[in-house]
Amino acid sequence: MTKPLEVEQETSLKVGNVATKSYALQESALVKWSLITISLIFLALFLILPLVSIFVTALEKGWATYVASIADPDALAAIKLTLTVVLIVVPLNAIFGIVAAWAITKFSFKGKNVLITLIDLPFAVSPVIAGLVFILLFGAQGLFGEWLFQNDIKIVFALPGIVIATMFVTFPFVARELIPLMQMQGITEEEASISLGASGWKTFFFVTLPNIKWGLLYGLILCNARTIGEFGAVSVVSGHIRGMTNTMPLHIEILYNEYQFTAAFAVASLMSILAIITIIIKNIIEWKAKDV
């Protein structure tokens, strides 16, 4: 008796998900097409036009200029620095994100809700303020400034500062993605694994990680995109030293302020390409995750 019922439910659910062909919600062709037209025009004006204009401006003075502005030593240094930051920040945030999500979903402890709220804090705080906080902590006049100076450790206006500020801003992406997923999956599979004699590590690698891998990847992609593009917090802590502490967004700003539009847009086009690749990967992951 139950089985055919289940099947029926499933099919009706699928219909609901794939295409809402509800009779009650059917509108006249006029309404339908005007809504579609409005959204297309909006997309074209606010998304596609700017994107195209980036590439047009970048290639305005020919291919040679384009290549030259990217091959400029300062530009290359900026690209290198951005990639270095990505390579440090994304793996660290993956680990912290998993640890935080694990702590929140698999254990119950006092102050859990405080922790969940704190994870969201970087989203609520303006990145500029986040950057200023780190200047106040690690800057020359800052709380730890004297001690850092005496021990010859450079954080602000150097790579460590950029990494810390970026990590602060991008921390929520992985944790935010994993917490609801892990909450939904519960802990019984882990319990089953332990009762079958697996150690904690084996349980994590064989049971937990495979179950969250798509969510984790999705979070990492978003984290990665934000790490590349982060401007505010990094701008405050980097000090804008050319060829040293300029990331790609900062380099673009400098070029733009110096009226080197073509060069600015050339680097910008490079970042846009990274963004587009990110979106494509993100969609592939979403599509794959749906299958599982």
């Binding site: 089985k3 319990e191 089953a192 694994s193 009762s195 697996a198 084996k202 064989f206």
Partner: protein, 356 residues
């Protein structure tokens, strides 16, 4: 393996889940932990598996105190209520898991694991499903995978949490029979949790009835069904009719109606007689004060037993009687008839003794 549960107590915050529980279980028994939801039966099972800690008391496996042994070293096979199969692994990998995660020293070779898993899948009749994922199986099939997975590690104890709860009636019955057969073959000490009295009576060779974190009664299915030691057990195991009255000199009286209860010689103003539906006798004529008039409200006639709902004419109470179909035909009774009923066997409880 024998299990001794000694004075185990457990609280969750202010909720007392288990209160001073002591049970001795012999090696090879098939035990049902029966009780309503919130009675603590699942908590007790999880404590046995080590998935939950206890506040007081001790658990002994084969005389050895394992209270502080981690779940991964207890050698317990646990079948979860919703199976908890690893969703990203095939049926084969699910069953092989417990063997694959063993430390290198004790891990069987790939061939040995493969052979063992194949044997187990044959045992649970899922040989052709080795490459499927849990989401591609029906409820009954998932349940059998969960069992095979638990058996793969050769547990000394098999613990099952509501093993048939989420299945439909027919599959449930089949699996019940199958579990008993499996137990007869393997003789591994098994404990299963259920809230379904029929399931407990049908499968277990001993039943532990629990309520409010305490044990109400322990005994064979026959003992707990035929001789319940409390109103709760009476009520929980099967249907029951209540006769309220005054207990005096071996008689339970209610108005004109009198029931002989020679074994109860004390006097109480307020006593309750408990009578199973099949212990209610239906007569067409009154018999002194020993019968009470009742009107037939409904006759339910599917199967060999006829269920008859009656309404007493002296008080506003409903009764339920069960008689064999042959007897029903002889009686020749119909809806709306007035008949006279007499309890053949009853057990008297004094309410205040059991007011908790």
């Amino acid at each position: 393996m024998s299990i001794h549960i000694q004075k185990v107590s457990k609280t969750f915050g202010s909720f007392q889940a288990l209160q001073d529980i002591s049970i001795d279980i012999e090696s090879g028994e098939l035990i049902a932990l029966l009780g309503p939801s919130g009675s603590g039966k699942t908590t007790l099972l999880r404590i046995l598996a080590g998935l939950e800690g206890l506040d007081e008391g001790a658990i002994l496996f084969d005389g050895q105190n394992i209270t502080n042994v981690s779940p991964k070293e207890r050698k317990v096979g646990f079948v979860f209520q919703h199976y908890a199969l690893f969703r990203h692994m095939t049926v084969f990998d699910n069953v092989a898991y417990g063997l694959k995660v063993r430390p290198r020293k004790t891990r069987p070779s790939k061939e040995e694991i493969s052979k063992k898993v194949t044997d187990l899948l044959a045992l649970v009749k899922l040989d052709n499903f080795a490459d499927r994922y849990p989401s591609q199986l029906s409820g009954g099939q998932r349940q059998r995978v969960a069992l095979a997975r638990a058996l793969a590690v050769e547990p000394k104890v098999l613990l099952l949490d509501e093993p048939f709860g989420a299945l439909d009636a027919k599959v449930r019955k089949e699996l019940r029979r199958w579990l008993r057969k499996l137990h007869n073959e393997f003789h591994v000490t098994s404990i299963f949790v259920t809230h379904d009295q029929e399931e407990a009576l049908d499968v277990a060779n001993r039943i532990i009835v629990m309520n409010n974190g305490q044990i109400e009664q322990v005994g064979t299915p026959e003992e707990v069904y035929e001789h319940p030691n409390s109103p709760f057990v009476y009520d929980f195991l099967g249907n029951v009719n209540l006769f309220r009255g005054r207990l005096h000199k071996g008689k339970l009286t209610q108005g004109q109606f009198e029931i002989d209860v020679p074994t109860y010689l004390d006097s109480y103003d307020d006593a309750v007689g408990y009578v199973r539906p099949h212990d209610i006798q239906i007569e067409k004529e009154p018999l002194n004060n020993e019968t009470v008039a009742a009107k037939i409200v409904h006759i339910h006639m599917v199967g060999p037993i006829v269920q008859i709902e009656l309404k007493r004419e002296d008080v506003d109470e409903y009764l339920e009687a069960e008689i064999p179909k042959e007897h029903y035909r002889e009686l020749n009774i119909n809806n709306g008839d007035t008949v006279y009923i007499r309890p053949k066997q009853l057990r008297v409880f004094i309410p205040e003794d059991f007011s908790i």
